[in-house]
């Protein structure tokens, strides 16, 4: 466990100095960090609790809309808007989970798509609340401590903080009682219940945490884009991207979602000119290869191999 904290500290340190080394590649890095954060948040529910959601774009949308509508229509400072979004996202996740957690496996996944689609339709059609299909512009933002929130540098550090927070949360969870409860529920709900765990409560907690963290990233995303559209931000493909990033990297691992983000955002950048708008092709090919040949993900497979070797050695001596 100690080594994870060392890696974490090293990565954050590298992240802090990154803008000095590659000032021209800030936007890519922001996208990478946002996806790493979202995939890590998704993984709390999808990997550690084993409930595959294809509706997480709803939480990105909630966060983004609270910040955009809050700042441009109601003159609420973005940090208060984000705070409100966190509460709203937890509440939505709570109700959503209450409603659908009795569904198992693929049926839960289908229900998340349906609910997320309904959110998208509401965002498009209820113009008085969301600005409708045309979207919302963020024109002015306050300047806390003289920081220009529109500058790429500030966006970058916000995204870095977001990714770091999510990874830190997962690291804390992985060795906590809650983390073991999550894994117990994922492996077998009946046995978990037999050992005194209430699966619904545990899954609800995971969903609320996952949703709130995703919304936090959504708020930062809105500031980064400074223009949001319901078609993009609530769209099924965003949910798919978030889920696939985590699954490609490795579900239920600390670093899997980050590695996944590095892989998909990195290869998206490399093939940008070849594939142009067909950038989801990479996700499609990667997920097929990963599920067929390394079902635990790119981080999960070697990690499992190493753990098995350690146990084998212990058994020998």
């Amino acid at each position: 466990m100690k080594k994870h904290y060392v890696i974490f500290a090293g990565l954050v340190l590298m992240g802090i100095f990154y803008p000095r080394m590659f000032p021209g590649y800030l936007s890519v890095a922001i996208t990478l960090l946002l996806y790493a954060g979202w995939a890590t948040s998704w993984d709390i529910l999808g990997g550690w609790a084993g409930q595959v959601s294809l509706g997480h774009a709803s939480f990105v949308g909630l966060g983004a809309y609270f910040v955009a509508v809050g700042t441009s229509h109601h003159e609420i400072a973005p940090w208060w808007a984000v705070l409100m979004a966190l509460f709203a996202a937890s509440l939505v996740a709570y109700l959503w989970g209450r409603l659908t957690f009795k569904l198992k496996g693929p049926y839960f996944t289908l229900s998340t798509i349906a609910i997320a689609e309904i959110f998208r339709l509401v965002a498009i059609n209820e113009g008085w609340l969301t600005g409708g299909a045309t979207g919302v512009f963020i024109m002015t933002l306050p300047e806390p401590f003289g920081l220009d929130l529109f500058s790429r540098q500030v966006n970058y550090y916000l995204a870095l903080a977001f990714a770091a927070i999510t990874v830190l949360v997962v690291m804390l969870i992985s060795r906590s009682k809650f983390g073991y409860q999550l894994r117990a529920v994922r492996e077998d709900e009946d046995s978990a219940m037999a050992s005194g765990i209430n699966p619904t409560t545990v899954k609800l907690k995971a969903f609320m945490l996952s949703g709130a963290l995703t919304a936090l990233g959504g708020g930062i995303y809105a500031i980064f884009l400074s223009f949001i559209e319901p078609h993009i931000i609530f769209y099924l493909l965003l949910s798919v991207q978030i889920a696939l990033t985590a699954i490609i990297g490795g579900r239920g691992t600390i670093w899997g979602p980050c590695i996944g983000a590095l892989l998909v955002v990195g290869s998206g950048e490399i093939f940008r000119t070849t594939f142009a708008e067909a950038n989801m092709l990479i996700y499609g090919l990667l997920i097929m290869v990963v599920v067929i040949f390394m079902p635990r993900g790119i981080v999960g497979e070697p990690a499992r191999y190493l753990i098995r070797r350690v146990y084998a050695k212990r058994a020998q001596s």
């Binding site: 595959v52 798509i113 349906a114 309904i118 059609n125 989801m280 092709l281 997920i287 097929m288 067929i292």
Partner: protein, 295 residues
């Protein structure tokens, strides 16, 4: 205000005809689920493949879209069988999510390859009879919708005959009922699965061809919509049950058209989803039977 029977009947007939096409899409999905127990996320993209097949044959050879069924159906069948043998057969032992994720990947690959080949702008086929209608009293029927309904009936009747009156159909039903038992009496279930996936894809492609005079084909966006509609249809009726999928398709068509004309058309796509959620939540055991593990 007097209730307007004419517009009600008009809406009902439109709903039923649209629902017929939804049923055609849903039947393929539900057949694949019934036999292979996998949820095929690429089903909607197979529909889009059918649409582009008709567009391509129309622009290159000037074929009528309905004529291209002769090419699209066998091609769809072979492509489906091949996909099952090469990709999905590797996942029969894996947890149910794996096949969901692989077919999701397949959907993304198909959609984006179409995008690279045909570009992003919507494509359609213009036919001379596109806006003609047949009138029955004060209610009028669009020729295209009637043809779509007719094609649906023919295809589903054909499927019914194959499933219930041939040796192949008996083998398919046996595999769906009990895979191990079917193997014990000498049915090559791996071959049956390839055939079933082929039939499923052929049905989806047919639906695409039938829809092309009616809708525009777009490479990436509409695939997910059709997949979602197919799920709504199959869950309305009950996954794995073909008769119920037909009822589900008709119900979805009527609910959408009625909702759009009597409530608000902004939420046309939401009505089906709401019914879908309600059924999923309120009657899961009745509709899914043995596939849901009850605690």
């Amino acid at each position: 205000m007097m209730f307007d029977y004419v517009s009600f009947l008009q809406n009902l007939s439109n709903g039923v005809l649209i629902g017929g096409v939804y049923a055609l899409i849903g039947v393929g999905l539900t057949l694949v689920f019934g036999v292979m127990k996998i949820i095929n996320f690429a089903h909607g993209d197979f529909v889009i493949l059918g649409m582009y097949c008709a567009v391509l044959l129309n622009s290159l050879l000037g074929w009528d879209p309905y004529l291209s069924l002769l090419v699209a159906m066998p091609l769809g069948f072979m492509a489906g069988a091949l996909l099952q043998r090469l990709v999905l057969s590797r996942l029969m032992e894996a947890p149910p999510e794996s096949s969901l994720l692989v077919t999701l990947g397949l959907a993304l690959v198909i959609g984006n390859i179409l995008l690279l080949t045909f570009g992003a702008e919507p494509k359609s086929v213009n036919v001379s009879y596109a806006s003609s209608t047949v009138s029955l009293g004060k209610v009028s029927f669009s020729i295209i919708l009637l043809l779509a309904g007719l094609a649906t009936m023919v295809v589903i009747a054909g499927l019914y005959t194959v499933l219930n009156h041939t040796e192949l159909g008996r083998a398919i039903r046996a595999t769906a009922d009990n895979r191990l038992g079917a193997e014990l009496v000498g049915i090559n279930t791996r071959w049956i699965e390839a055939v079933v996936f082929g039939i499923g894809m052929a049905l989806a492609v047919t639906a695409g061809v039938v829809l092309i005079p009616l809708l525009f084909a777009t490479p990436t966006f509409s695939g997910a919509i059709f997949t979602l509609k197919a799920f709504v249809v199959t869950v309305l009726g009950g996954l794995g049950n073909i008769g119920a999928a037909i009822a589900g398709g008709l119900l979805l068509g009527v609910v959408e058209v009625m909702g759009a004309s009597y409530l608000t058309s902004d939420y046309r796509d939401a009505y089906g989803l709401l019914v879908f959620l309600l059924i999923l939540l309120l009657r899961p055991e009745g509709l899914f039977g043995k596939t849901v593990k009850r605690v």
